[in-house]
């Protein structure tokens, strides 16, 4: 227990990822959904960084950087879309995204 190994981090990563998934499933508000997505990305980052550390390889960190970059882009585009949506419908509730429903 006292010696922290890769598995510890992977379990932590799993738990965080699991929390993120729960969030994605039960959230109705789009912004909260985004929050859950960020948790997913962070969970993966922890995994990447841990593997990178335990295997003495920087690739994991690199991927973590790219994940952060992706998160930032997702935020920029996502928030832009949300603002447009909110301007048009006055709400960002998931239930309002029904225009594609047959």
């Amino acid at each position: 227990m006292m010696e922290i190994g890769l598995n510890h981090y992977l379990v932590l990563s799993t738990i965080l990822f699991c929390i993120g998934l729960i969030g994605v499933m039960r959230r109705k508000n789009l912004l909260m959904l985004f929050f859950a997505t960020e948790i997913l990305l962070n969970a993966v980052n922890v995994g990447f960084a841990a593997i990178s550390h335990y295997y003495g390889d920087l690739t994991g960190q690199m991927f973590a950087f790219f994940v952060i970059a992706i998160a930032a882009s997702e935020l920029a585009v996502g928030l832009g879309l949300l603002i447009v949506w909110h301007k048009r419908h006055g709400t960002i509730d998931l239930d309002t995204l029904t225009s594609m429903r047959g």
Partner: protein
């Protein structure tokens, strides 16, 4: 020992924070907890020797991403209670656990095997920042540039999407111009 204590402490804090984020109905709690969780995640990076990654995590995630989310919250009028989907709680939790375990298992399966080779092993005597720099600007130069372009595109997209009519300032317009805008709005509603 410090490492273990730090790990368990931060693991506990991170899980708690993220749990609060996904369960609370108070949007402000979610935001605060998520931001705190991000900072605690960066602690893992520091423990794991990825100092630069940790600093970037703090600056980018907490300093920028969360601030933008807060901005968005003020925009969307969700600073208070938020509604939630009324699904079966157990199914949601069960499915999530299952999916998480599977995904992590799939991705980590090859890693756990012992015959792993480091593509870019650590260089002795160089700090983490230097190594990151070296690897990033050599092996990952192209992805880096692509990521940079992606960020630029995202930024432009964000500005274009959200920034329509953002340059209008009602305080600087005169009465007639404001009336014209009002009329335009009304016309849309009427038609």
């Amino acid at each position: 020992m410090f490492e273990a204590v730090a790990f368990y402490l931060f693991a506990f804090l991170t899980i708690t924070m993220f749990y609060i984020t996904v369960t609370t109905a108070q949007a402000l709690y979610a935001l605060s907890a998520l931001a705190a969780g991000m900072i605690f995640i960066s602690a893992f990076f520091f423990i794991l020797g990825a100092d630069f990654l940790g600093a970037v995590q703090i600056i980018v995630y907490t300093g920028a991403v969360m601030a933008l989310y807060a901005f968005g919250m003020m925009f969307f009028d969700t600073t208070r209670e938020v509604k939630e989907k009324n699904g079966n709680k157990y199914i949601v939790v069960g499915l999530s656990v299952l999916a998480a375990v599977m995904i992590v298992a799939i991705f980590s399966a090859p890693i756990i095997s012992t015959n792993m080779q480091a593509f870019y092993p650590m260089i002795e005597g160089a700090g983490n920042t230097q190594m990151v720099g070296m690897v990033l600007f050599t092996k990952y130069l192209v992805p880096f540039e692509v990521a940079a372009i992606m960020l630029l595109v995202a930024m432009v997209a964000g500005i274009v999407l959200a920034g329509k009519k953002m340059d209008l300032s009602l305080t600087l317009l005169n009465a007639e111009e404001i009336q014209a805008i009002e009329d335009e709005k009304n016309k849309k509603v009427l038609s």
